[in-house]
Symmetry: D2
Subunit: 291 residues, 4 copies
């Protein structure tokens, strides 16, 4: 009998090594919101910190975590173990308890709308600010001020995070952009094809129109001052094919005297990179929250 | 058209950012060996470094990478991205080109044999040394000496790696044990049930009989000297329920004056820990290879 | 002329790469307090964060940073660049602005009193709590509550930090002990010589009498509960000759169900270790401050 | 008596925790070479690995480690603990046993010649290749081939390392440049003053004439092919005032399809940065040695 006891315990612990009573555990849920603006249902995946169910008076900071092209709302959770990473960092004190939410802004780019910006026929950015954010922050116990709200993302979502910070410095206290699609070479080379109306073509056009690099270069002094109210972190691999536009963004920010943290680490445009970036991202946004 | 070009490139690179011609890429294959000793087929998953197909004269060092209880041959590759990690570390020079192979020694512990030791009715260790290792090292271009052969593993596979190093110091130049099942508390407390004959019970008994801690404590001076010919690395999380036996092992090794590297990092008994341990393991075994 | 401009700038920046106006810079000062209890003057070195002089209404958290045997008040600053490290970590957000103070508790152990405990003829601990801490916290703008007060140290100062936390859980929100002298083997072996009255012998006796390991083993349930109100971090090298007592301390804490972070990293009992430990210590205590 | 024993041991170990018999220890020596070319004596500081004195048949790889402007031969050893760092990395296997030598190429730039290039009246580069390198490699047991020779340095020495690798790819297997003076803004702006003949002015002119960025931009295909025979690592802080020219160098290398590792880490132009860069540099050059 003792053997059974051992092996039962072993397996159990192996699968769930921080035993917790059920309502103290962190949890990940997927839900759907109907958008009038998009005329479509949109799924989102949300992480609620341990104790969320029992401390019913407590409000939390929130991180909007954006996926990349062809990703969906569950991508961060499935490919980078967001729940396990945040549970561990919160346990050791490196990050604070927070809500993390990923909205769906993608899927197969041949058949699904992708992207975080407004495009003809798909006003995603309007959806985000007029429907999604208010819905989340009323449904869940979110503190709801600039200091306790952050946005981060990878690739297309890194560009989305940066542009969202640029256009809404009153909403976000910190931005962490990973391997970000800050701009497109087509922009610099005036190569865009203005006629194609496929979802891909419209996305491409929207990325160029919302170039994060051009935004900084063209910013007024007032806009620059607003950008200085955000804590910025830009992180890209030395083998990433998007590195060049990240360097352009960094140089534009430095020229504009807007402080930012900038890192080039070993790696390419892949989940290995984003898994390790997440270990820096969660402490970074935590440093802004509740201080 | 230019838009299409961009998006095609983007997706392609996003999925496969280090483009390589086909026969230069590293590859992961799964195959099966029939064991006379076990009277069963056993699967294994193997990583072959880039250039393996084209440099047909070159021989490589080899790492035997052992999974844990209820894991199988593909676990390391699926849950810790062995291919992507080794590709990246080899590209930056932190590890050398090597063959990595995981044999199946597990599955559902209620119905499948688990474990790396001989048990009544399942002589896995005999299979490993008489059939599996010779098969692999004749099928693939392996250098085949102690210096260029390593063994590593997690949990049950960490104990397996350690015991394999202990009993075959002539075969392995380095051992890296993660969150290792070095022994069982039942051993210290004389609590084992001698009668149960389930696969679980037999595994438990085999772990105690092959206690890595007792082996060091009881080693002759000659055996200790042999253990000193191996480079040892033991790595366990501060929240791991197996930490105690890892500390016992460390203390026994230090008492016996057998050098080893020992680390306690933040973490528990889970894939987050093993993913980051792999980043240390591959460079560590590489330091032994080809020097 | 342009050449001169370049080289002047180059050197200047090379020596002082974050130019700041004078009263915004962080500063390190050394001062002296006269102790009635010790009947002696005692020096201390103190770090004041940038902006301390200009934000005259702001109060700060405080870290008491204790040196080791034969060290003095300036040791941490000279051998581990406390000012430069804290300036950089605060700039990137990894630590918060704080005051850091090192009192002198040592020097040449053949001629000077060493140690953080009361000894016959040298009641250092009384001095610390009745004179030093009140003096510092009235002279400087310290927040002055448990949450915003931490103690950390290396070797003899790591043991001092731990014992201070144990006896004053109402004062300290976090403790970070590096390579700590938690106890002495003489204690376990009943080997102490009770007769010698040299400063060395009295120090040895005081370390044993104040064993951090025994304190946990013998703690009442009420004392254990108080210890749980502190965030603990214990960090020791795998080649440190004091590792054994750190492991004993860790095991005693786990048996008593008092949460702590525990790390064994590569290294020995030297400044290389403490320099890298400082990079973890300052963010760790910052996580407690002002949250 | 036992107390004395303890404290004696404690101190001794505290100061020298890896006890070794004398002729097995690593050592650092300073010596002087007379240069006919410079018509001056030049000091150098050299690290010899443990066992150098006893294994009198063994030859070693060598790292030339270059200091920055106003530094001298002892700077790396005094400000970045080269001996202690290399001892520890070699003990854990992260680096291999090697000889490390720093020649004096600086001092007070108002009164002393600084720089690694030939200048009117001070042909330092000729001295390095015709006198210094041959002297060192005949005086000490150096393997003496490209694979087992590396060059690294900080700031002015990072530029020196890069230029030395560029002009002598047949001599160096790897180059590690930290916070490197790759070029000067004066170069891009055609601002140099051609008339001043001070040591500072001549140094400035020599840096521009030997621009590491221009070398890559203007390299012939044959030169590029030679540059590909070196393993390159370029590492610069995000707050370093020299970062721009490091980015220019990186982009030039990528355009020329010459592989290199590139990192931007947190930090400025100071010893904190170079201390941590050394922890990557020694393993990186070790990966090239003896493989």
């Amino acid at each position: 009998m003792k053997n059974f006891l051992f092996l039962y315990t072993f397996l159990l612990l192996g699968l769930n090594s921080h035993a917790q009573t059920a309502n103290l555990k962190s949890q990940v849920k997927t839900d759907t919101i109907h958008s009038e603006i998009l005329n479509a249902d949109r799924a989102y995946t949300i992480y609620l910190p341990k104790g969320y169910e029992s401390n019913t008076d407590k409000k939390y900071p929130i991180l909007y975590l954006l996926h990349g092209l062809s990703g969906i709302n569950s991508s961060w959770f499935e490919s980078a173990s967001v729940k396990q990473v945040q549970d561990q960092l919160a346990a050791s004190g490196e990050s604070v308890d927070m809500i993390i939410v990923s909205p769906n802004a993608g899927g197969n780019p041949d058949t699904e709308w992708n992207g975080y910006f407004d495009m003809p026929g798909w006003n995603y950015e309007q959806f985000f600010y007029k429907e999604f954010l208010p819905h989340i922050e009323s449904m869940y116990r979110v503190i709801g001020n600039k200091q306790n709200r952050a946005v981060a993302g990878l690739s297309m979502g890194g560009g989305g995070s940066t542009a969202y910070g640029q256009r809404h410095p009153e909403l976000f206290g910190s931005v962490y952009a990973m391997s970000a699609l800050m701009d497109l070479p087509e922009n610099r080379n005036n190569q865009t094809d203005q006629n194609s109306q496929t979802k891909r073509a419209l996305l491409t056009k929207s990325v160029i129109e919302n170039s994060c690099v051009d935004y900084v270069i063209n910013a007024t002094e007032e806009q620059k001052e607003a950008l200085r109210s955000i804590r910025w972190f830009v992180d890209c691999g030395d083998d990433d094919f998007l590195l060049d536009s990240n360097i352009d963004f960094f140089r534009a920010m430095r020229n504009a005297k807007i402080p930012l943290e900038f890192r080039i680490r070993d790696g390419a445009h892949d989940w290995l990179y984003w898994q390790s970036a997440l270990l820096d991202c969660l402490p970074f946004v935590s440093q802004s929250f509740q201080r």
